[in-house]
């Protein structure tokens, strides 16, 4: 039988040996004790013996009787040994010499004991030290081809079939006695070629390098998605995140496991408008970029985030999800437990093979596979994560009492008069738009309904409420995530398999929100005939999510951060007994109570009951079939075909329940007024309902099919030993077809599935309750049918000479049916060239302490096709009719005959080094990216009909550096300490702006993100703050002088009021991870740092917002300017009514409200304990836990802001898990 495959299997096989050793040791100990107890106290004496072929044991017993010396030996060591001895009054030494001659035994006299041992047995090493006189002790280390220690490798002396084999320790070290010079040690390790080493001298410190036995065993290779490249021949910039790194975190999506493990990816929550604590956004791809963003405008739909490749095939997402706001995150569905590793392709040589889609980098995910010649192994992993409730108190609000005072003030100033004046028109059927509760109380007082004392008491009572408490209590909860996964792997000579299943169950932070995910995957590789490998990967994912109805106000955490909520801070969701309360929403309570005289549906909004009305159900299923076949034609050529089929169904069912506020409100609006006369019949038809009673049900069915077919020829040739050429060439066709439709059903009954859509949507004179008017029925039906096709041709070649010099080159061209690409720029070619110099393989290189030293450099072009931008205006057909009752079409995009594709020229220089024994290894990379023809959504002459358009408007240069260091600080048999340090520097600079329009933009558009030549892509600008005036008005330095000419400062043509502060994205970022290992216990902590950037204080006061219904009154309101002289000690502007929104813009964006963003945070701590009890049925038992988002350790701002919070700080999470195999 042949040994094979991996570590795991090897451990499995080593088990019988270990078991024997343990047994022997136990027996020995037992005997030692017995024999020692029996030891007699007899003195030294002469020995007389005459025995022929007597059992040795009997002879020794006799000696013991004569001398009192006790013999210590293993119970079976002397069995079946006989001896002939003939001595008379001989000394013990002489006698023993005769007895043990040619017995293959050694002995040692220790006090009154004689220790007998079988020669070369390692079992009693310590005791046997003394026997080494006749032997040589050899120590050393077994390492793999990379220099990594191989624990549990087996060593024996050649020809010695009697002795127990020795196995290496965790560090690959061994110690072994050999019978003198020229002995041959045989080293074996599953998966590696058995190696024989001749020993040539005593106490030699051997390092034995093992070579892989089977060609297809995992080498140190890098996957580009198209091919595997041996690391020492790769010219490009790759970053591999190993399985071990991925398992340091327990999150259920793969992308968030990359945080802190790579220098390449920027996770930048600040600039990405996603809700941090929203259950929908767990590591969204669109928030990522590799080595800085290459796009001027991150909200262009496609092309601004990295391409994701799974097992060689790009993941399509077709954009259908975007149109329906469905979370179609293609990576979110991957079960992290099925991922073997992740490779990030950073430079042109690495990524240009992906051509027009590579400009933002490529993330290559390789899933786990079975391996040939591997015994079956079953593994399971389970964990639970608890996430705290989101902290609504992060933004410091002024007290509710202050807020009440402000509203009182606004009331007295007439701010609500316009809204209140609707009361005057009630007779004409006008509704009564809502005013805040404070205003209701004051109105009641004014009308004499309540007394001033009553009003004041009610206002004072409001001041004691805080809606954040209610939301925290009734809407939020701790999130709980559970993950389970099970996998079976194995393989024989011709077949390898892996089956896995995973199940995740999440209870999200908001009530009534949960999801679960089932993943099943099967991977089989067979070798039906020689030289042919056929690999089949089938993955099935079922994802279900349940949420509050879309129409519910509290359906996602983003809505509860209250920054822009209609809910006043004193609003109560429930009374003191927890009974749900109605809150003011669209109309005044009095109107709601009286409108329709009882002929309308209840018009109150009660949030805590409303969240239970209806639901949004998402059912997503995806099946991916990936077939790959490779045939080795001969030593040089290999032909491969990949076919990938991907089918994704996303069904979203939204039900606004019959009793939901949304439904009741809509039904009421489509009710005829009391005086309505049907124009067709002339008959009065008061309170006639145009919408049927029941729920409003909107299923959205989205079906996406993607197919990829690729043919590839691999060329591998080695000649004269030193010359190696690896090349691939191929072609690929891709298609994706998305069909989606969405329809609204009225009068839906959940239990009978009945609905009533027999409604006349074309009629434009449906009576509408408000304003006594007519309108159309709301109609929603969307049908989308989208086909994308693309073809690509690629070639990639590398030549290596003597494992010292490598040159690589690649080229690719793409074509696509997407408008714009087909017409303007189909088949734009992308190429790269690169070189590598393995300095450490040069003969002149003799730096022992630095055995690894390699230099790489590449240059090439990546493309970025933005499918959302087209040079031709296209028309879309509306699915409903307009108010004229006619079907119609609308225009999309603009006619822009000068549109060009974006291109990114990337230069990368990298240095890899490693000290002796890998104590310190690292990579330093320097890169520049020259992005040309960048598209930006920039203002244009509004006379064109567009306010802004996506057009080529700028060039940008990015310079950066990545440093990755890992060190083994302490390494002993029991304790080790390793550190990983990552550092990245990334700075972009706009080098050219093509259009006058952008260069002449006013300061306000620059604040909004218009690129400015010479500064960062994401820059923070601020108005130069000149303090408050003596009336408390904000002042800005305009032309060097304090000014209150806000319009000129913000919208004028000169920019003197504006100053450039710095980058809005971290210029320096990285992580520092320390791992400590004590025996079975591993502790690691990861610290993230982001430096060199600025952010705007998120809670500067905005008076115009407050008078227009914003409910966010920041704490600084208390420090506002109130009387002359205050300007000397405060910067918070006075409350002036009516508020000037431009003054608010000036203050909110002034230099005093820009803070340094630098911070260091403790991202994660994890602890794991591995049980090494091998007599258990379970193997590799590991218990682990982690805590994430522990908090900021240091920050540059003194005000306690977390610059990386977009809306609510990410809550802390606690996880605990168990994994094992058998």
């Amino acid at each position: 039988m042949k040994f094979s495959a991996t570590n795991a299997a090897m451990r499995f096989r080593a088990w019988p040996y270990l078991k024997q050793i343990i047994l022997v040791m136990k027996l020995t100990t037992f005997l030692l004790i017995i024999i020692l107890v029996q030891a007699s106290a007899k003195g030294f004496s002469q020995i007389t013996l005459q025995e022929k072929d007597a059992p040795l044991e009997k002879v020794l017993k006799s000696i013991k009787q004569q001398t009192g010396y006790t013999f210590i030996y293993e119970s079976d060591a002397l069995q079946q040994r006989s001896v002939s001895v003939n001595v008379s009054n001989a000394s013990l030494a002489t006698t023993l010499l005769q007895c043990f001659k040619d017995q293959g035994l050694t002995y040692k006299i220790v006090d009154k004991n004689v220790i007998v041992q079988v020669k070369q047995s390692s079992v009693l090493d310590k005791i046997a030290d003394v026997f080494k006189s006749s032997e040589i002790q050899v120590t050393g280390k077994i390492v793999d081809e990379k220099g990594n220690a191989l624990p549990n490798a087996t060593l024996k002396v050649k020809g010695d079939n009697y002795s127990m084999p020795v196995t290496t320790g965790d560090n690959g070290g061994f110690s072994l006695y050999v019978p003198g010079n020229n002995a041959v040690i045989v080293v074996s390790y599953v998966g590696y070629k058995t190696k024989e080493v001749t020993v040539s001298g005593a106490d030699v410190q051997l390092v034995i390098h093992m070579e892989l036995a089977v060609a297809d065993l995992q080498q140190v290779t890098i996957s580009t998605g198209y091919q595997e490249i041996p690391k020492e021949r790769a010219t490009g910039s790759f970053e591999v995140i190993t399985n071990k790194q991925l398992n340091q975190v327990t999150s259920s999506d793969i992308l968030s496991r990359l945080v802190g493990n790579t220098t390449a990816l920027n996770f930048n929550p600040q600039l990405s408008p996603t809700s941090s604590s929203s259950p929908f956004k767990k590591g969204v791809l669109s928030t990522l970029n590799i080595r800085g963003s290459n796009n001027l405008n991150t909200n262009l739909y496609t092309g601004s985030y990295p391409l994701v490749v799974v097992d060689g095939v790009a993941v399509e997402d077709n954009g259908a999800g975007e149109r329906f706001s469905i979370d179609e995150d293609p990576v979110g569905k991957i079960n992290p437990n099925d991922v073997e590793n992740v490779t990030i392709l950073k430079d042109a040589a690495a990524a240009s093979i992906w051509g027009s889609r590579a400009a933002n980098g490529v993330i290559v995910i390789t899933t786990k596979k079975g391996k040939y010649n591997q015994p079956m192994q079953i593994s399971f992993n389970s964990n639970a994560t608890v996430t705290n409730k989101p902290n609504l108190f992060y933004y410091k609000r002024a007290s509710t009492a202050d807020y009440v005072d402000l509203q009182k003030n606004l009331y007295s100033l007439g701010n609500y008069d316009g809204t209140l004046s609707y009361a005057d028109y009630a007779q004409y059927g006008y509704n009564q738009p809502a005013v805040p509760e404070v205003v209701e109380i004051l109105e009641a007082q004014k009308n004499g309904t309540i007394t001033a004392d009553q009003a004041n008491a009610q206002l004072a009572a409001l001041g004691n409420n805080d809606i954040r408490n209610d939301i925290t209590k009734y809407i939020l909860r701790n999130a709980v995530n559970q993950q389970y996964s099970l996998s079976i792997t194995g393989g024989s000579q011709d077949i390898a398999y892996r089956l896995s299943g995973g199940y995740d169950n999440d209870l999200n932070n908001t009530v009534r929100s949960w999801d679960n995910r089932l993943t099943l995957s099967s991977s089989t590789t067979i070798k039906p005939i020689k030289n042919l490998d056929i690999q089949t990967n089938i993955t099935y994912v079922q994802f279900n999510r349940m949420d509050q109805a879309n129409e519910s106000y509290f359906n996602e955490a983003g809505n509860i951060n209250l920054q822009n909520s209609f809910l006043d801070p004193y609003t109560r969701l429930a009374d003191n007994n927890g009974n749900p309360l109605a809150v003011i929403r669209d109309n005044r309570p009095e109107y709601i109570d009286t409108a329709g005289h009882g002929n309308l549906l209840d018009w109150h909004y009660v949030p805590l009951t409303d969240i239970n009305q209806g639901y949004t159900k998402t059912n997503q299923s995806e099946i991916t079939i990936n077939l790959q076949s490779n045939y080795r034609l001969n030593d040089v050529f290999k032909v491969g075909i990949i076919y990938n089929y991907q089918k994704l169904n996303t069904d979203v069912y939204d039900l606004a329940g019959a009793n939901s506020y949304y439904t009741r409100n809509l039904m009421n609006l489509y009710t005829s007024p009391y005086n309505y006369v049907n124009p067709a019949t002339g008959q009065p038809e008061p309170f006639h309902r145009s919408l049927p009673m029941g729920g409003i049900y909107t299923p959205t069915l989205d079906d996406l099919t993607g197919q990829t077919l690729r043919g590839q020829l691999n060329f591998d040739k080695t000649w004269n030993v030193k010359n190696v050429i690896n090349a691939i060439a191929g072609a690929e066709m891709r298609s994706s077809y998305g069909v989606a439709n969405s329809n609204t059903y009225y009068g839906y009954n959940e239990s009978t599935l009945q609905y009533n859509n027999q409604l006349d949507y074309q009629r434009t004179d449906i009576p509408y309750y408000l304003y006594n008017s007519q309108t159309q029925l709301p109609y929603n039906s969307v049908n989308i049918d989208n086909r994308q096709r693309a073809v690509s041709e690629f070639i990639n070649a590398a030549y290596t000479y003597d494992n010292r010099y490598t040159f690589s080159a690649s080229a690719r061209r793409d074509g696509s049916n997407v408008f714009g690409v087909a017409t303007n720029n189909s088949f734009s070619p992308f190429y790269s060239v690169g070189g590598r110099w393995n300095i450490n393989n040069e003969k002149f290189y003799k730096v022992d302490w630095l055995p690894t030293l390699q230099l790489r450099a590449t240059f090439g072009y990546n493309g970025n096709v933005n499918y959302s931008v087209s040079p031709i205006a296209t028309i879309g057909y509306a699915s409903s009719v307009g108010q004229n009752g006619l079907p119609y079409a609308y225009l999309q995009g603009a006619t822009n005959n000068e549109l060009k594709p974006e291109r990114s020229g990337v230069l990368n220089i990298g240095l890899d080094f490693g000290s002796k024994d890998s104590r310190l290894t690292g990579t330093i990379e320097y890169y520049t990216k020259n992005d040309k023809n960048l598209l930006t959504n920039a203002p244009v002459d509004p006379t064109t009909s567009f306010t802004s358009l996506d057009y080529n408007s700028a060039d940008m240069k990015i310079k950066g550096m990545d440093i990755m260091l890992s060190s083994i600080n302490i390494k002993s048999s029991k304790f080790s300490w390793t550190s990983n340090f990552m550092f990245s520097y990334n700075r972009s600079k706009i080098t050219q702006i093509y259009t006058d329009v952008i260069t002449s933009l006013n300061p306000y558009s620059i604040l909004l993100g218009t690129p400015v030549k010479g500064t960062d892509l994401n820059a923070i600008y601020a108005f130069k703050w000149a303090g408050l005036s003596n009336t408390g008005a904000p002042q800005v330095y305009l032309n060097g002088k304090p000014s209150t000419d806000y319009n000129t400062a913000a919208f004028g043509s000169n920019r003197t009021a504006l100053q450039y502060v710095g980058s809005a994205t971290p210029v320096y970022a990285g992580s520092f991870r320390n791992s400590f290992n004590y025996q079975n216990l591993t502790l690691s902590a990861n610290i993230l740092y982001r430096l060199g950037y600025y952010f705007r204080r998120p809670d500067a006061i905005n008076y115009s917002g407050l008078s227009n219904g914003s409910s966010f009154l920041p704490v600084e309101y208390a420090q506002r300017w109130q009387k002359p002289g205050d300007e000397t000690h405060t910067n918070v502007p006075a409350f002036i009514y009516p508020a000037n929104s431009t003054a608010d813009i000036i203050y909110d964006n002034s230099s005093i409200n820009v803070l340094k963003g630098d911070n260091v945070r403790l991202q994660e701590i994890n602890l794991s304990y591995s049980f090494k009890k091998d007599n258990w049925k379970l193997k590799n038992v590991r218990i682990y836990g982690d805590i994430q988002n522990l908090g900021i350790l240091w920050r540059a701002n003194k005000l306690g802001y977390d610059p990386d919070v977009y809306d609510i700080p990410r809550p802390r999470t606690y996880a605990l898990g168990l994994s094992a195999s058998f």
Binding site: L770, N786, I875, Y888, A894, T895, P939, N1002
Partner: protein
């Protein structure tokens, strides 16, 4: 199971063939493979039907026309309280502050140019098609829409048409859809010439009738010609065009058939409407069903009808009760407007073309040509439908001047909040007899706008100036 290992060339050959086939397909037939429409609901404008669908986009083509002219005119006034509740921009427009200027092009400037852009796309697409009835209709419609939009912009942002029209800066005449084309102002003469030329072409292309008044027809083109010529004070051509329009469509609503108590006495697409267009105004937003005020100035709950104007309606003139409603509460004895021809409440007022305007235009032109009989005939035809049944007696005029005065008085009373008053003020300013100085009183302070003031031409919005090289209007 032990699998026999033997060298078999067959799969190699198959795989090689497959790979070659893929490569060959990609290299040689990619154009065909890629020649698939990306989205079934998405296309280039390639047929007359596509063009018609674009022009039938009611919200894009028939709504959202500029309202600042009406906001600046004298049909209404604001109380101090209402005035103070307005945005600074709206306040400045109301009192004709010399610096009054919209910060953004949208909606006043940009909306009509959106119509221009859509029309240009359609005109360019139709130019590639062989002439046919449907192609002609679509092309004629697009020309009409473009002219209607140009006319709107011209009333706000360039001087009225006078003797200096060939020197006065006009409006940017964007005649191509390419966004790279630079906007230039040209002259007022060029502006009006373009409108007239396009409308004359449209007249020849458009059908006699259209299925709904949101679609232009010959009558609409004549009516817009009449309106344009009138703005140019070319009374001969204006009268001719109005007559041609009335020949095709001359129906009037008998106001006795309307319900004066209704908040919306008219229906949309009523029989007087020749071409349906409405101004920027209220939008319903679901599910809230509350106003979104884009031009709060003229919101009926805010704008009070000029009392002199209100008092000018006779008691038996049905328009008084159909056009206006009395305010209540603190605003008792003030009135607000509800006579919107669009049939909706709120401030999205009808500013399209209607038969009553044509009667008044023809009457004015007849009066100016000295044809008192025709003028009075048109006026009486119209007014008969405006007075309570049996109470109307034909009005007569004492002199040629009196004819014109009577016609203009009725024009003022009939075409209220129809987007026409500002143009009429600009036009009549040149005639001593009809010059008026507009007044606004806020906080006791009186603001005036004397005839022919520079402020009769609005400043181009801030972001138009910032993002183009267009020169600003003088102050």
């Amino acid at each position: 199971m032990k699998i026999q290992h033997k060298t078999n060339k067959k799969p190699a050959i198959i795989l090689t063939y497959m790979m070659t086939a893929i490569a060959a397909t990609v290299i040689f037939s990619c154009n065909k493979y890629l020649d698939v429409k990306q989205d079934s609901a998405e296309a280039l404008v390639s047929t007359a039907s596509d063009g018609q669908l674009l022009l039938d986009n009611y919200s894009a083509m028939n709504t959202g026309y500029s309202s600042d002219g009406e906001a600046s005119a004298d049909n209404y006034y604001l109380t101090d309280k209402s005035y103070n509740a307005l945005s600074a921009e709206d306040r400045n427009i109301y009192i004709w502050l010399p610096t009054a200027q919209r910060a953004t092009a949208a909606p006043q400037w940009q909306n009509p140019y959106k119509v221009v852009y859509q029309a240009n796309i359609v005109i360019e697409a139709m130019a590639k098609l062989p002439a046919a009835t449907d192609v002609n209709t679509v092309k004629g419609s697009a020309l009409f829409f473009r002219s209607f939009a140009f006319y709107q912009v011209a009333q706000l942002y360039c001087k009225p048409y006078t003797a200096t029209a060939a020197q006065d800066p006009g409006i940017p005449l964007r005649l191509s859809s390419d966004v790279n084309a630079k906007s230039v102002r040209g002259t007022v003469a060029q502006t009006y010439q373009q409108i007239i030329n396009d409308l004359q072409t449209a007249v020849s292309l458009l059908p006699q009738t259209s299925s709904i008044s949101s679609r232009p027809n010959k009558a609409a083109a004549y009516a817009l010609l009449a309106r344009t010529y009138l703005a140019m004070a070319d009374y001969t051509n204006a009268g001719k065009a109005a007559a041609q329009a009335l020949e095709l469509q001359g129906a009037l609503i008998d106001y006795n058939t309307l319900n004066p108590a209704s908040g919306t006495p008219f229906i949309r697409f009523n029989k007087e409407v020749i071409f349906q267009a409405i101004m920027i105004g209220t939008a319903y937003s679901f599910p809230n069903g509350v106003f979104t005020q884009n031009d709060a100035t003229m919101d009926p709950s805010v704008a009070k009808i000029d009392p002199v104007l209100y008092a000018s309606y006779a008691d038996n003139d049905l328009r008084q009760r159909i056009f206006f409603k009395g305010n209540t509460g603190t605003d008792t004895l003030t009135y607000s407007f509800k006579g919107n021809y669009d049939g909706t409440p709120g401030n999205a007022f009808f500013d399209g073309l209607a038969t009553d305007e044509m009667y008044l235009t023809r009457a004015e032109c007849s009066a100016r040509a000295g044809d008192a009989t025709s003028a009075m005939a048109d006026l009486n035809t119209l007014l008969k439908t405006r007075y309570a049944t049996g109470t109307f007696t034909n009005i007569t005029a004492s002199s040629a001047d009196d004819v014109l005065i009577k016609v203009l008085t009725e024009r003022r009373k009939e075409l209220i909040f129809r987007g026409l008053r500002w143009t009429d003020l600009r036009r009549l300013n040149s005639d001593n007899r009809f010059q008026v100085t507009l007044k606004r009183t806020i906080g006791g302070q009186v603001y005036t706008l004397p005839p022919n003031d520079l402020r009769y031409v609005q400043l181009l919005p801030v972001d138009v100036i910032a993002n183009s090289s267009l020169p600003q209007n003088p102050r």
